[in-house]
Symmetry: C2
Subunit: 237 residues, 2 copies
Amino acid sequence: MLFGKSCRQCVVRDAALCAALTDSQLEPLARCGVQRSLARGETLVRAGDPAPICANIQSGLLKISQISPAGQEMIIGLLWPGDFIGTPFMGDAAPPAQHDIVALTPVSLCQFPQAIMERALADHPMMERQLLRRTFTALGDVRGRISRLARATAQARVAGFLLETAHRQGDDDGETMLIIELPLSRGEIADLLGLTIETVSRQIGKLKHAGVIGLPGGRRIAIHDPDALAEAAEAVI
Amino acid sequence: MLFGKSCRQCVVRDAALCAALTDSQLEPLARCGVQRSLARGETLVRAGDPAPICANIQSGLLKISQISPAGQEMIIGLLWPGDFIGTPFMGDAAPPAQHDIVALTPVSLCQFPQAIMERALADHPMMERQLLRRTFTALGDVRGRISRLARATAQARVAGFLLETAHRQGDDDGETMLIIELPLSRGEIADLLGLTIETVSRQIGKLKHAGVIGLPGGRRIAIHDPDALAEAAEAVI
DNA sequence: CGGAAAGTTGAATGAGCTCAAATGGCGTGG
DNA sequence: CCACGCCATTTGAGCTCATTCAACTTTCCG
């Protein structure tokens, strides 16, 4: 639970929100957190929901997506363990959810009533500080994604996605995994990168034929040559 | 100045950070803010700067940009009056600046030493709350941009950019200007939208020939048919 | 097995890029 | 006041990369 004792075991990349609190501060809050699980495909937040959920992802992967007027799905971004969902603002200050949030894998998270979240942040400035820092980081991440989407070739988009996935599946020391489990289908990768299924498949095929990666089966990807992959990710039209 | 009396006159779209403070709270802080002006083209922040600047934009327009390894400039985003620059984290918690920030027009802003900013936020939770809210808003904005860059046609990118500029140059009631002063060159628009100069020019030409917009001269744009422009902005491949 | 979904591969089309040249605006200097 | 040069913008022609449409193969589960 976010504020409970078990929160300290949360799989979070940066410092957990609750790490700033002492045990005695945690105690009265512990009852309010709700441990929750999502199955693959389950929707956590639907665009337009008046009171967005506040939650901290413990394990699993979710997508933030948007359906265009034409019915085309666009994946705005991914949410990994340690990421925070929702805005801790109440009442008329709370903007309605702008995007759908759907589990791509089985997900466990700890969810909080928004009012409790609001109160806890007001009572514990260190928590608010942590949340602010995390939000700044997210802003930087998203800005980084923009440059990739705006100008990069299909090759660079795919290579960059593989690298980022390897990085986020690695341990906390920044080590990247050399065999990663792709949590997305080709179609979802396409929606994430602004490409088509066929193009994603072709680019992965190219990387495989070049010996940069291997496809050991299933949705696993073996990264044989991280440097070459990084180089491919830099390519710009 | 950000915390001074004159701060209340800041041209800010959302609530100013300091609006949460009483006059007596403002008093001891007022001396620390530095009113600063930038000429067009002047660089406020350079990528890699160890201690990023904290500032609040009062008037003018800046670009957040990144130079790719190939030397190609990519404009990550724009900063309009009311936007906040920098992260209020000190010491080793402060990440180095990731992007360049350059004035596109004459700019006036109020700048603060980072230590003062940090302290003020710690002392005044309402300020931190405002900053958090503003950052969430910025995150939502940037996520919105992603979908445009990932899949939208050149036509939609250009139309969307014109609409957003009209919107941000409008008054606080959400009214959009029908004659806007484009603060960017064709080249800068191209860098912002991930297109080439020629394509931007062609798309603007198309919109003009369709009667949707007019070019009264200079870098002004008259929006004759806002609805048609909005429709063009929706177009997706 | 067998059917459905996911993924791969191929050929043709088209949007946007590149290269190149023409046009227009604007300040400088004669 | 006009000629000139510089820069931004516009316009044109050919090309490239990603998409589209379509067929085929593989994987996943019942």
